[in-house]
Subunit: 139 residues, 2 copies
């Protein structure tokens, strides 16, 4: 999506800073008020999961330092690991050039995936065999 | 989102395979026919960008081995790097546990971001200072 605010700042020099509230106000939350969030292990750099935040979840994540998402299936705020204990401690957060995606690097306690696998991307495409292979066991 | 197909396969043992076409047919393309795609550098493991694919873009990516997205701003198929030369060669593709996100590891030629920066996530949050800092210069 075109976003004139993010276009206007893309030529700023490295190191220049902008007010956090100003940038958050310009993020491209979709028609449901949500923005996609990529969660990456800060140490291994494995991509753990993709989920969604609304502005409240984003604010709570920044305030508490723990990842809080918006659950689209339960239609409620979802503090990751509140029931499972598999919490995620925020290490670093970046926004992308169009302001329509957030990348969070975290310290992951336990398994990121609800199946018990270390991350959610366990269905691997094998193009040559036209198959998808399960990587890792559920627990 | 709940997806009964992906729920039904989550307990399959590691190594079990499923037909690729069957899995793709069950992916949770949204109401615009799109699914979010995370693109990660296969070597550095840096997250380069987040974009979207429709089924045609997914098929073309798998067939050609080069990343093809759906451009929501131009409303057309977008073969990454066709004009800039900054192509992405697909190394590995995985789907997530809910079938609503795709992770692609790629060999990136040149800069992933249209600003000339190596990746799109160059707006870094500094919680303590309530600022967002620009990381790297545009070209």
């Amino acid at each position: 999506m075109q976003n004139t605010y993010f276009q206007s700042i893309e030529s700023l020099p490295s190191g220049r800073s902008l007010p956090l509230n100003e940038v958050i106000d310009k993020l491209a939350f979709n028609e449901q008020g949500l923005i996609p969030v990529i969660t990456q292990d800060a140490t291994s750099k494995d991509v753990l999961m993709m989920a969604w935040m609304n502005k409240t979840a984003l604010d709570k994540t920044l305030t508490t330092g723990r990842m809080v998402y918006w659950s689209r299936s339960r239609d409620e705020l979802w503090e990751k690991g509140l029931t499972s204990g598999h919490t995620q401690e925020l290490v670093n957060m970046t926004f992308d050039c169009d302001g329509d995606a957030i990348l969070c690097q975290v310290n992951q306690i336990g398994a990121a995936c609800h199946t018990g696998r270390p991350n959610c991307f366990y269905l691997e495409v094998n193009k040559e065999l036209n198959q998808v292979q399960i990587i890792g066991s559920s627990q």
